[in-house]
C-alpha cells in the first residue's frame, strides 16, 4: 500500500519512468547476472590457466599467454578463422540478394502463393542443426558413390561464363554461389520474412503516383521499392552476420568448443572467443557506419 501511495504521488512522467524500469527489470537483472558477469569472468579466464578441482575450480594467472598461443602457435585456428570470415563475406551478399528477390516474388499475386510462402519459410522451422544432419547423411552416400548428383552442372556453367570473357574472379564467385545455392536458400528464411514484411508496409499510394507519373517498372523499383526497403537491408545484414556467426554449424565455433571440452584448454578457448567477438564487432561497426548513410528513413 505504501509503495502504491508513493507512486501515485509522482508526476505522470516520473510514474512512467518507474514503470519502465519495473517492466524491463527482468532483462536488467538477467543482463548483469547471465551476460555481464560471465563476460567479466571470461576475461579473467582468458588470462589464466583454469583447472577443475573438487568442489569448484582454480585459476592461475598467466597473463596474455593464452592469446599469443591462440594467435601464433595454433596455426589451425588462424586458418579456420580466416576461412570463416571469407566464407561469410562471400555468402552475405548472396543471401541478401536472394532473400530480397524471393520476397519480391512472394509479394506478387499468383495462384498457390500461400503454399509457396509456407515452403519458403520451412527452413526456419527445420533449424540449422538438423539440416547439418541431413547433410551428413548425404556425405555418407557420396562416400559410397551413391550420390544422386548435384543440382546444377557447375562445370558447364563455368565454361559458359568463361566464354563470356568475364573477369575470372567474378566467374569464380558466381560459380561458388551456384554451388552453395541450396545452402543459401536454406539460410534465407528469416531474411525473406523481414523483406516481405517491409514490402507489404509500403503504402500503395506511392505506386499509384509512380504509375500516374509514367514511371516504368524499373524506375519504380529503384525510386520507390528500394529506398523504402533500405532500412531492412541493414537489419537483414546485421541479422545474417549474427546468424552465421552464432550458427551451430559454424566451423570456428565447433573448433573452439572442442578446444574447451575436448582438450580442456579453457583459457585458450575463451581467448579465441574474444578474438572472434572483436572481429564480429569490428565488421558490424564498419558496415553500420558505411551503409547507414545510404539508408533512407521516412521520418
Amino acid at each position: 500500500m505504501d509503495i502504491k501511495k508513493r507512486i501515485s504521488r509522482l508526476s505522470l512522467d516520473q510514474r512512467k519512468s518507474v514503470l519502465g524500469i519495473l517492466f524491463t527489470a527482468p532483462f536488467t537483472v538477467g543482463f548483469i547476472l547471465f551476460l555481464l558477469y560471465p563476460i567479466i569472468q571470461s576475461v579473467i579466464f582468458s588470462l589464466s590457466d583454469l583447472s577443475i578441482v573438487e568442489g569448484g575450480y582454480e585459476i592461475d594467472f598467466v597473463g596474455l599467454s593464452n592469446y599469443s598461443e591462440a594467435l601464433f602457435i595454433d596455426s589451425y585456428f588462424r586458418r579456420i578463422f580466416i576461412d570463416t570470415f571469407i566464407r561469410l563475406l562471400l555468402e552475405l551478399p548472396a543471401i541478401l540478394i536472394f532473400s530480397f528477390f524471393a520476397a519480391i516474388l512472394l509479394n506478387q499475386k499468383f495462384r498457390g502463393r500461400m503454399l509457396a510462402r509456407v515452403l519458403f519459410f520451412l527452413p526456419v522451422i527445420l533449424g540449422a542443426e538438423i539440416i547439418i544432419r541431413l547433410g551428413q547423411a548425404h556425405y555418407m552416400e557420396q562416400a559410397m558413390q551413391l550420390g544422386q548428383g548435384a543440382f546444377f552442372d557447375v562445370e558447364a556453367i563455368g565454361e559458359f561464363l568463361n566464354q563470356l570473357m568475364l573477369p575470372p574472379e567474378l566467374t569464380e564467385y558466381v560459380l561458388a554461389a551456384i554451388d552453395d545455392f541450396p545452402e543459401i536458400v536454406r539460410s534465407s528464411g528469416i531474411q525473406i520474412l523481414i523483406f516481405l514484411a517491409a514490402l507489404q508496409s509500403i503504402p500503395s499510394a506511392l505506386y499509384e503516383v509512380a504509375h500516374i507519373e509514367g514511371a516504368t517498372g524499373w524506375e519504380t523499383f529503384w525510386k520507390v521499392t528500394f529506398p523504402m526497403v533500405s532500412p531492412m537491408i541493414l537489419v537483414n545484414f546485421i541479422y545474417t552476420v549474427i546468424d552465421t556467426f552464432t550458427a551451430p554449424d559454424n566451423q570456428l565455433l565447433t573448433y573452439i568448443q572442442n578446444i574447451a571440452w575436448g582438450s580442456g584448454d579453457y583459457g585458450i578457448s575463451v581467448a579465441m572467443s574474444w578474438f572472434y567477438f572483436l572481429a564480429i564487432a569490428v565488421l558490424l561497426i564498419i558496415v553500420f557506419v558505411s551503409v547507414s548513410r545510404y539508408v533512407y528513413y521516412e521520418s
Partner: protein
C-alpha cells in the same frame, strides 16, 4: 488520322504488356517451383532412403523408389532414440521454455515500447548486444556458475549443482537472456511501438492500472505475434543442441539422443553392431521422426505465420 494511329499504338502496347506479363508469370512459376524443390529435396530424399534396405542402398539401379519397402529402420531408430520418452521430454521442455520466453519478452518489450526512462536507450542497445555475443564466450562461465550455483553469493560454498536440470534454461528464459531472446524483445517492442496509444489512455482514464491495462487490453491484441514468438522459441529449443548439451546433460531429449545415435554406430547394451550403410538409412528414419512433430506444428500454425507477417510490425 493521328487519333486512329494513337489508338492502334496503345492497343498494340496493351497486347505487348499482356504477353510480357504472361511470360513473366511462366518464368516466375518455374523459379518458385525450382526453389521449393531445393528446399524439400532433402526431405524427399530422406523419405525414400528411410524405407530402403541396406541392399537397396548398395544397388546402383535403385533410385528414389526402394525395391523392398521396409519399416525396420524406423523400428531401430524408435528404440535407439528412446523415442516416446524423448518426445514427451522434448515437448515439455520446449513448451515450458517457449512460454517463459514469450512471457518475459512480452513484458520487457512492452516496457521498452511504452515507457521512456533514463538509460532506456542504452538498455535497449544492450538487448541488441546480447544477440551479438558468441555463445562460446560465455559458455564456460555460465556452465561453472550453474554447476556450483550459489545464487551469486547467497547459498554457501560450493553451492548446488543445477546442471542436468531445467533450471539454468528457465532462469535464462525468465530474464530474457536465453539464446536469441533479444530478437523476441525487439519484435515485441516494434509491435507495440506501432500500435496507437489511444487504447491505453482510454483504459487509464477509466481507472485501470498499468498491469491491468497490459494484461486485459494490450495482450489480447497481440495474439498473432505472440503465436509467432512462441513458435520460434519452441522450435529453436527443439532444435537446440548447444545449450541442451551444456545444461541438460544426460537428459533424454530428441536432439541429444539423435546426435548420440548418429555419432555412435555401436551402443553398449543396445542391439548388435549395425554397418555404415544400414546406419545411414536408420539415421534418415530417425531424422524424419525428429522433424515430423515440428512439421505438424508448423502446418497447424502456418496461417498465423504466413498471413500475419505484416502484423509482426518488424517494420517500425
Amino acid at each position: 488520322m493521328s487519333g486512329r494511329n494513337e489508338k492502334l499504338i496503345s492497343r498494340r502496347r496493351i497486347r505487348l504488356d499482356r504477353t510480357a506479363s504472361r511470360i513473366w508469370a511462366v518464368f516466375r512459376g518455374i523459379l518458385i517451383l525450382g526453389i521449393s524443390f531445393i528446399i524439400i529435396y532433402p526431405i524427399l530424399n530422406q523419405l525414400s532412403l528411410s524405407f530402403m534396405t541396406a541392399r537397396d542402398l548398395y544397388d546402383a539401379t535403385v533410385r528414389f523408389i526402394p525395391r523392398e519397402v521396409t519399416y525396420e529402420n524406423f523400428v531401430i531408430a524408435f528404440n535407439r532414440m528412446n523415442y516416446l520418452r524423448a518426445l514427451i521430454n522434448t515437448f515439455l521442455v520446449s513448451s515450458l521454455l517457449g512460454l517463459l520466453q514469450l512471457l518475459s519478452s512480452l513484458i520487457i518489450g512492452y516496457g521498452f515500447a511504452r515507457f521512456q526512462f533514463k538509460g532506456s536507450n542504452i538498455l535497449f542497445a544492450l538487448v541488441i548486444l546480447s544477440l551479438l555475443i558468441p555463445p562460446s564466450l560465455i559458455m564456460l562461465p555460465l556452465f561453472l556458475n550453474f554447476r556450483f550455483f550459489t545464487a551469486f553469493g547467497i547459498l554457501p560454498e560450493p553451492g548446488i549443482n543445477l546442471i542436468g536440470s531445467s533450471w539454468p534454461l528457465v532462469l535464462l528464459a525468465l530474464t530474457g537472456t536465453a539464446r536469441r531472446n533479444g530478437l523476441f524483445i525487439f519484435i515485441v517492442r516494434q509491435y507495440f511501438k506501432g500500435m496507437s496509444e489511444n487504447l491505453e489512455e482510454a483504459a487509464y482514464v477509466d481507472g485501470a492500472g498499468p498491469l491491468k491495462t497490459f494484461f486485459m487490453i494490450m495482450m489480447p491484441n497481440a495474439v498473432p505475434i505472440l503465436i509467432i514468438i512462441f513458435l520460434f522459441s519452441f522450435v529453436w529449443q527443439w532444435n537446440d543442441l548447444f545449450y541442451s548439451h551444456l545444461f541438460l546433460r544426460g537428459s533424454s531429449l530428441l536432439s541429444l539422443n539423435l546426435q548420440r545415435m548418429t555419432s555412435a554406430y555401436f551402443q553398449q547394451g543396445v542391439e548388435p553392431f549395425i554397418d555404415g550403410a544400414h546406419m545411414a538409412n536408420v539415421s534418415n528414419a530417425a531424422i524424419l521422426m525428429y522433424i515430423i512433430p515440428l512439421l505438424g506444428l508448423y502446418a497447424l500454425l502456418q496461417s498465423y505465420f504466413v498471413e500475419s507477417i505484416e502484423k509482426t510490425g518488424i517494420i517500425g
